[in-house]
Symmetry: C3
Subunit: 611 residues, 3 copies
């Protein structure tokens, strides 16, 4: 018995490479010309049946059988019509195998298939843009039906899809122009999703390295640091924007810049848009020493707008040298409404209440350490886990952070020893002062490139030396100037616990709105007074209309408790504030300054002193 | 007698579809190759006369007669030269008919003709970009002669032109690449312009709908609201930028956001750039309770720069919950120099002097109503007229505005009743407080997406509930904190009219630069004092170094008159201010605070009280 | 003896125009098709050897000899294989001759060669972008090997290279798509570099023109003005960004706007990106009357980011009506680390110490003139040298600057006479006041387009008149209002030198944060008091909590010396300040105001008076 003739039907995803000369295909009449008729084999492949090869009368959209006589070098297909009564149709599937997104760079001009999760769908006035994520990267796919009309409307966010299309260069970026975007079957979806998750998980896993220095605290923190590094690496690999907020002092800057170096270089290594390290990563110094409502409001405002306008994911927020106390809670609450993940790298005494808002939290107090293991040390260690290749660049940052934050932990010495040859202690102190001074003038801009020079991350050591020298000179001259204005107005008292108390009104006896600001001014005054009163217990209060800054040496105060007591004892004082044993601040309403300060001094006079 | 042979000449706009095989055309020699000579039939169509079909010697630019032997499928044309002595030339016009701009989406890859007004001409370093507006939309047209050289220099702004060109997709936007941009003859121009105007006018006409609630005031305002809605719709249809300025309180935000929803969705529905709702529409809360010089200066600075740099039209400015008083006049004057049109939707008592600056003004006082019909109610009704499809989204905004502004008009109840099922009165109050609190932290950013969540416009009701709950908790905690600081410092007096007067110095007895700000702080103090003095006339003055805020209950003051009198009675007081019967504020120079406050109190003591 | 057959080898840069029919080439087998084999003649040119013309078996990458039978009109090349035993290979060089960058506009679609210096190399995720500068302009060149991979890695910054490629239009800008970017040989490099330098130098040379008015001072300054103009012209021609900082008063604005007009029009005339005048030129009013650390910090932050992100050059900074005193030195020091060139155009008394930081400095004191030759005069003269074509536009700016700065130099009269017909003295005064008032509301934005209208540079004289009229009315109304608040609080004294001293506390007896600000308020008070005390020596001190402003008439004070003395005599006063004979200011810490003011007054009482 004779077999039915075999006739092929090209699937939508097929391209020219799936067509074979000599085979017969089921096609559809697309249109007519004087010299013949055009027949589509699928939506993207058509050929010409010359009038001499036509066998019957047809109208548009008629189904016809055609044999491929020749595929010309320019891609034109010569067809001839076939009249066959009995035949069997066999679908032709796309021969293409799936390509990893990371490998698309070499496929320009080729038709490929990729599989991945739909991470974003943006309708433009032209095509619909799908962003696809697989285990190796992220890729934009343009699909066009009609200007402004949603292509493949059945495809939804978070689906696992297969995309077939041609790899093109558009505006200096790789783009796939899709022939087909199709959801995978349930089973396929499960397989692919698992494959992607497993691969992403493995890819995000940090390398197995030890801290740069000997430290029980750091050793104990390693698991949490690895966890945090993994979260950050995964954000980079899945094109999630990252916002890095930090305390605007030398320690906070060192911590944040170390992570910045690691993240930015990882983004670059991971491909994607060449400009991605600018719009997917933002470092922002915070004005307050905590993540205040104004910060989250601004971050959320921008994130939601980017989400609405550009289809970006909601960001991962990293807080360093900040974020571990109750004061941050109002902001976390607001962020939790939008399920924004937070990781915190801090060395302030953590309040247990805030951990429920965090997906990761590196803090020395969790493992028996204290603030002497500074945020700059922690941030640098995390940065190495994020991207070990940046270590040579950033290994001196912990030492700078240590002297900047006056750490007295053993880690200070270890980190200083590590870089002693290139950055002796005085160099680190200079860099720390230069950072504070430069950040003052930057206000709350990140100053990305200048700060890199201050920290010697640019590879121009000579310029770094020159810049730091100038900034240190400038800072010291302004400090000297401020001290000349301040010191003659310091009012001394001796308290009944024999502590020496010094009062300075930094509102009326210091230059305002310039460097050094009130807190640093009070600190400089205190340092001078300590030197003048070698060996004696000293407390300095720098106050303005509605605030006071405390510095102490040899007086055992519990500033947070004192503030709580004052808050309760003085109704209408509007008192708040905090700090720790030697440094603190207190706020009050202007009209209650006198009674508040006197009550505060009375409490200080009760504190035990170190003789 | 034999007729002359007919020879065709292709007009510049003609394309391949206008060429017919077998016909003879008048062409021009373009150049030579070894295998023949190229002949242009017009600027964009050329064919090849193979050397075997050449009949004479030629040089470049010679006119020749050629017969079209064949048009190949790839568009190549085979010509043969004709030698004819006597012939008659007949021009071939472009067969294309005019397409409406709104219909271009389906014409990609096709050559089309459009007619419309030239709304913008921008020279780039490449082509010249003409923006054409017809009754259905706006379209960019690129015309290229030479890099950086103005194409079609005879075409000027505001001309009515016909454009022939191919519809392309460029950077994800439709663009016409023009073959020809030609001014229409006077008569045609008149016809087309009339057609466009009539069509635009009809298109801009709002639907015939009634207010959402029963209200004589709203019914009477309907004609002006329709007029304003039509002006705004027309701005959208003609790609005129819109700046929407509003009072930064709950009522102002509701009013402005209702209009924002209507305008943004109308822009999207009207096609154009997919990003147009961002650069053609800007909502900006005002710092002052009026449109101050700093606002117009900034708006004008940006508008003029956009005009110079991107060729944008000057904007339409909409003011809501603002704009109807003398205080706005200096800004209107400056704007009038640039003929910027203004519409105002306000419920403050209007000063007659300002209407000459406005093209539309919705105000309840114009029809016998008062401020109880709030800006949020008016804005929402206007928004429905702009785009009725947004009504389901925004119908609860008037109720939020009503409770936020403490309206006591009957409309308050009607609007609350309308949405009672989904938003009972307490929910509306919470939303209003959440808006005030969130706007405080947004400073004067619009917070477009967050505000949409606060107002439940995103379709995520659960998230809305959670967000509002958190914001209300935060706001109340901070109000409580402020009251704890303030209330112990309130100084009471009894005036001779038996009104109870309370004085609170909000500069020295309240937290500054935080929520609640001085005005709201004074209001909260007043509310508490009213509750403590149920049934008695109460006036509260919250004052700072150079301002005082007044709140009163049961005391019939005319604050604007009091301010005017004080201004005249106290030379060197620098007094200004205003308000209405129960709420007001007054400014003065710091050094004159005591005499000004005492004189003010003396006047209050003269006011009749409600016993 | 028979000669060897000649066989050609195409160099990489060759294109189709270098291939000749009939010649035999050395090629390489690229691939096979059913109908024959493709052979590459170089990387970009390939042809087909039909199977009937193949002479031997081959595999991919085999070398073969092929004769060009025909080049078809569409660029396809028909080849036939040649079997030749003995032949001689002759390389074919690209025939193209070098094109000047300025001439590329007419070469679209053509393959060209350009020579120049590599001014920038930017790697994108697609091609590598080289920016090439020759004597005539700047051109972007895109070179592509593989997505994200650096093309021509041997080419480095500042090399002199030859680029061969096709001129394309990309995103409305000319771009060369490079076939080859090759470093020139040492000798060629020397020649080309010298040619470019010489040509640039000649091109940057200003025209030989005289000052607009008769003035010995201006004549003497001409060489330095020419030098400065040349530096600025050269910056424009080499795509170096320019930052123009200026004092935010009428004189400073006139000076800066004159230069802005010249530079912007020169940028436009010089081609380049059509938007280049926005991103290569920035004018920014300074808050302080000098270039303060905050300014350089911000400028440097942006410049370094633009350098890192977009590969822009470090900027040329121009300071006008600013920059010549010690107060600017800290900023210059920081800038010097980055080798940022500065030019200063100022009429303040220069401190000799700063010239080492400047590449050019126009200052009347250098040639025996004084501040009466204002920055607006100098800036306008320099602007004419930068671009003489703007002279008709800006020739009235010196007159506006002269009256704005109350110049009493003879040049004042000459410049006023020059424009008397169109801008009589009162018109100039009005414009100057309008500038001050508008700049106040612009805060420290440049307000580019509004300011052009205030200065009548737009060509809409009627609008200018209307705008200036309104601004003058507004300014005068606010000045009147301020005077009503202030004048009643002026405290008079008679000093022992018989000078009349007037004291006004502008903090508590004037409106704050509005127009006129404290300095101008003090000036207006002084003017009124001078009129009331015709012929008598008058000193007015307007003071706030930590500052005082001095104005004097007929009293010979040396304010800088007085400030230096006070600084030394009052420890803890925190005193600084400066000025000249009749105008000055002094800062101190708030708590020392009384002793500082009294000591200042004592010094004033010692000054000789003019009776």
């Amino acid at each position: 018995m004779e077999e039915d003739t075999l006739v092929y039907r090209l699937s939508p995803g097929c391209d020219l490479s799936d067509v074979e000369e000599g085979n017969t295909y089921l096609g559809k009449v697309q249109g007519f010309a004087t010299f013949g008729m055009f027949v589509q084999l699928n939506d993207r492949i058509k050929g010409l049946v010359h009038k001499t090869s036509m066998k019957a009368e047809h109208k548009e959209k008629d189904s016809v059988l055609v044999r491929v006589r020749q595929i010309r070098p320019n891609g034109n297909i010569d067809l001839e019509e076939q009249l066959i009564q009995v035949y069997q149709v066999q679908p032709v599937e796309r021969k293409s195998t799936t390509v990893r997104i990371a490998d698309l760079g070499t496929k320009q001009g080729k038709t490929v298939a990729i599989e991945g999760e739909v991470a974003q769908i943006k309708q433009t006035s032209g095509p619909t843009i799908f962003t696809i994520v697989d285990e190796s990267g992220t890729q934009n796919v343009a699909a066009f039906v009609e200007a402004g009309v949603r292509a493949f409307p059945e495809v939804e966010l978070n689906m696992i899809v297969k995309v077939i299309g041609e790899v093109m260069m558009r505006n200096n970026q790789l783009q796939i122009e899709a022939d087909a975007v199709t959801a995978l079957s349930d089973e396929e979806e499960k397989t692919v999703r698992a494959r992607i998750e497993t691969a992403l998980d493995a890819r995000a896993e940090p390398e197995n390295i030890k801290p740069m220095v000997k430290s029980d605290v750091l050793d104990s923190l390693m698991p949490e640091m690895r966890k945090v590094a993994k979260i950050i690496r995964r954000a980079v690999f899945t094109a999630q924007p990252i916002i890095l907020r930090h305390h605007a002092d030398a320690d906070g800057i060192c911590s944040a810049v170390a992570i910045e170096q690691a993240v930015v270089s990882l983004i670059r290594e991971s491909g994607g848009d060449f400009d991605a390290d600018y719009y997917l990563f933002k470092r922002a110094p915070s004005k307050a020493p905590f993540y205040e409502i104004e910060d989250i409001t601004r971050d959320l405002d921008f994130a939601l707008k980017d989400h609405a306008r550009f289809g970006q994911k909601m960001p991962l927020v990293i807080l360093t040298d900040n974020g571990s106390t109750e004061e941050d809670e109002p902001s976390y609450k607001i962020a939790s409404v939008y399920e924004i993940p937070f990781v915190v790298i801090d060395h302030h005494h953590p309040d247990a209440t805030i951990d429920k808002y965090l997906v990761g939290h590196v803090n020395p107090y969790h493992v028996g350490g204290d603030f002497g293991v500074t945020a700059g040390m922690l941030g640098t260690e995390v940065a190495r886990l994020i991207n070990p290749r940046v270590e040579p660049l950033i290994r001196h940052l912990p030492a700078v952070a240590a002297v900047g934050d006056r750490s007295e932990a053993p880690e200070r010495g270890h980190y200083l020893a590590l870089v002693r040859d290139q950055y002796p202690e005085q160099a680190c102190k200079d860099i720390a002062l230069a950072l504070d001074y430069e950040q003052f003038w930057l206000r709350f801009n990140d100053g990305r490139e200048i700060v890199k020079d201050v920290l010697d991350l640019v590879g121009n050591h000579e310029r770094h030396i020159k810049l730091v020298g100038l900034l240190v000179d400038g800072a010291n001259a302004m400090i000297e100037d401020q001290m000349n204005a301040c010191m003659p107005h310091v009012v001394p008292r001796v308290l009944k616990n024999e502590a020496k108390l010094f009062l300075i009104d930094v509102e009326i006896h210091a230059h305002k709105f310039t460097f050094p600001p009130p807190g640093k001014t009070s600190g400089e005054v205190h340092d001078r007074l300590c030197r003048q009163n070698e060996g004696k217990p000293v407390v300095t209060i720098g106050f303005g209309p509605d605030f006071a800054v405390l510095r102490s040496r040899g007086v055992h105060m519990n500033i947070p408790r004192m503030v709580r007591e004052l808050h309760n004892e003085i109704p209408g004082g509007g008192i708040s504030g905090g700090g720790h044993l030697v440094v603190g601040s207190i706020k009050f309403v202007e009209g209650m300054r006198e009674p508040v300060l006197e009550a505060l001094i009375a409490k200080i006079a009760e504190a035990p002193v170190q003789q």
